[in-house]
């Protein structure tokens, strides 16, 4: 049994402007100690997927309207509020995007890191503080004992993100969800944080869901990859397969728009033309068809089903798996809109 099995998750937002299907049929599984990379453009449903797993979507307007999220076989979506609180920060925890705003400015860093232990393990203030010092040391904060007594504004961005990671690890969670943990950081600090997460994963055996719009970040880390577009999963498979034999034209586009130094060529970037669709007015059929250089009539007419091409590699494209429809070989059908 997978540690976390998400089946056909659907989270919709009922807004004044209309129905937004922010997450529409996401399926994946995560085993112990594994890393899943979730990639996609802004608004592709990455964060909402993470929020839905922890039942943190703002309601109203958001609502999980379908699917199941099985944590060790138990469906989180049907648990009572108290049961979910028991999981949050304890078995499943989250690292947020912006470390500058994710720490409460009025509490000392050590106090905040210890909070999860105080909530879940009923630890005393002193025990929680000792554990916080240990955790700060673990995430590589120098002088952890005195730094634990500092306020967040006395920490730099990278240190705060380390503190956030320490906070998330406080109760030895099984799953760590990192929602763009490095987006708000300098590039030099980014690498450090990613390395830290990998080394901590080795040490604690936690599974990581790494949400990012930067393929480069997950390339090293992820065991599996989930590519989302407009709330729908377009490709899912092992990182090796998604990177080396991608099957969906959107994944090709993502890979081509990545600056790389290890391949020949003029060093030109090939961005995916057009804009991600508005989620209120999602294109008919395959939602990627207006931007897809290989689209045909069927693409705008029918929603492609998710096909399993190989064991553990699935893709939602009408042509995926057809001979000749591979990256670099497929024939363009038209100029892109």
């Amino acid at each position: 049994m997978a540690l976390l099995q998400v089946n056909d998750l659907r989270t919709h937002f009922f807004t004044r402007d209309g129905l937004v299907k922010a997450v529409d049929g996401v399926t994946f599984s995560l085993d112990k100690g594994e890393t899943l990379g979730v990639v996609g453009e802004s608004g592709s449903g990455k964060s909402v997927t993470a929020m839905s797993i922890m039942r943190l979507t703002p309601d109203p307007p958001g609502k999980v309207v379908g699917g199941e999220v099985l944590y060790k076989g138990a469906d989180i979506l049907t648990m009572s509020a108290a049961e979910v609180r028991d999981l949050r920060g304890n078995r499943i925890s989250m690292v947020f995007q912006d470390p500058m705003t994710s720490l409460n400015p009025v509490y000392r860093v050590g106090e905040q890191i210890g909070e999860a232990i105080r909530i879940h393990k009923k630890a005393t203030k002193r025990e929680a503080f000792e554990r916080a010092v240990e955790l700060l040391d673990l995430v590589g904060i120098p002088n952890p004992r005195s730094r634990a007594k500092d306020f967040p504004h006395q920490f730099s961005g990278g240190m705060r993100q380390r503190a956030m990671i320490a906070m998330a690890l406080a109760c030895d969670p099984d799953i760590l969800i990192a929602d763009e943990p490095t987006t708000a950081l300098d590039v030099t600090i980014q690498a450090q944080i990613l390395e830290l997460m990998m080394s901590l994963q080795e040490r604690t055996g936690a599974a990581i869901i790494m949400i990012t719009h930067d393929l480069g970040i997950v390339a090293d880390m992820a065991d599996r990859m989930l590519v989302l577009y407009a709330g729908r999963p377009v490709e899912y498979g092992t990182a090796r397969e998604v990177f080396y034999s991608p099957l969906h034209p959107y994944t090709w586009g993502l890979l081509e728009s990545l600056p790389r130094q290890d391949i020949e060529g003029k060093g030109e970037l090939h961005p995916i033309k057009g804009q991600p669709p508005s989620l209120i007015d999602v294109p008919t059929g395959c939602s990627f068809h207006p931007r897809c250089p290989y689209a045909t009539a069927i693409c705008s007419a029918e929603l492609p089903e998710t096909r399993i091409i190989e064991d553990g590699h699935s893709v939602a494209c009408h042509f995926a798996g057809e001979a000749g429809f591979t990256r670099g070989n497929a024939v363009k059908t038209k100029g892109v809109v």
Partner: protein
């Protein structure tokens, strides 16, 4: 990674041989610069800014003086100025309506009671009403405003419409009606003033909590498994306190004014208990002939209310994190 962590530690070890932090980690550089500075909190910053605000400090000093006077009145006022409320009808004729003098610094009233003594004892009622009524208003307003902002939707509408109903009545009329129902008396006066002040406080609390609610640390707390109560009490309220403290301080002044107004109308403190408002009320008919009967209690109300407003104003500036010196 191991190497990286070790790297951080060496920079932090405050090695005297290594005056500048190596440029490997931006974080480490900040460690060095920030370690030297004294640990400063929001509150110590605020105190420092408040101390620099002269008007606010004058207000605070005046409040301090009034508090000392009110608390120590029994030790010196009766001996020096005479009783504030007990009068002898045999000597009343000689003692009444004396102008200010060395013996009676603020003069005497129609019963021959010393005005200064009554003002000194009246400060007890004014401070009590200011603090207790504001506490009542704060406790109701904090609960209502926090619930409204946190849960939103139906609860928000319910609480805020209730507040609107309270605010739709003319304040003094509502207070008179309330006291008519509860009966006259000191405690009922507190309750009336406090209950009538909650809607404005609830609005301040609500807007303050709403602005805090969108912060990511609230989501982070929820992701840690914190309960609603814990999020409200530990994560939202402390961050929303600044405007509430400011408004609370100012409404102490407001409550003192309300007490004076209600006592003036004869609904608050009754003779023989001394109250500034009641003294004004009694001076109404005699203010042309014996102006000290009106001037001194009036000045007491004015300065005390002003002191609270000035302090509140100073606190607003001091607690505003965007104000950098």
């Amino acid at each position: 990674m191991g190497a990286l962590m070790r790297d951080d530690k060496t920079t932090s070890a405050n090695d005297p041989m290594q005056p500048t932090a190596p440029p490997t980690a931006g974080e480490a550089a900040q460690v060095a610069s920030k370690r030297s500075g004294k640990s400063r909190t929001l509150w110590s910053d605020a105190t420092r800014r408040l101390r620099r605000n002269r008007l606010a400090m004058i207000g605070l000093a005046w409040i301090f003086i009034i508090v000392v006077i009110a608390l120590s009145a029994d030790l010196w006022a009766p001996q020096w100025l005479g009783s504030p409320s007990e009068f002898d009808s045999t000597t009343m004729g000689e003692l009444k309506h004396l102008p200010p003098s060395a013996e009676h610094p603020f003069g005497t009233d129609k019963r021959g009671l010393d005005v200064a003594s009554r003002i000194v004892y009246g400060s007890r009622y004014s401070l009590a009403v200011g603090i207790i009524a504001t506490s009542i208003a704060l406790s109701i307003g904090l609960v209502m405003g926090t619930l409204a902002a946190y849960y939103g939707g139906f609860i928000d509408s319910l609480v805020m419409r209730l507040a609107d109903v309270f605010l739709a009545f003319p304040y003094i009329l509502f207070a008179i009606a309330l006291i008519a129902v509860l009966g006259r008396g000191f405690v009922n006066l507190f309750i009336a003033i406090g209950v009538l002040a909650w809607p404005t406080i609830a609005r301040v609390v609500r807007s303050s909590i709403l602005s805090v609610k969108e912060n990511e640390y609230v989501d982070a707390a929820r992701a840690l498994g914190a309960s609603d109560i814990r999020i409200m009490l530990r994560h939202m309220l402390p961050n929303a306190m600044a405007p509430i403290i400011v408004y609370g301080t100012m409404s102490i002044g407001g409550a003192i004014l309300s007490e004076a107004a209600l006592s003036f109308l004869g609904l608050g403190v009754q003779f023989p208990d001394p109250s500034w408002g009641h003294m004004l009320s009694e001076a109404r008919g005699e203010m042309i002939s014996y102006p000290w009967l009106m001037i001194f209690p009036g000045a007491a109300i004015l300065t005390t209310v002003l002191a609270f407003v000035l302090l509140g104003d100073g606190l607003r500036d001091a607690l505003d994190v965007k104000m950098k010196d």
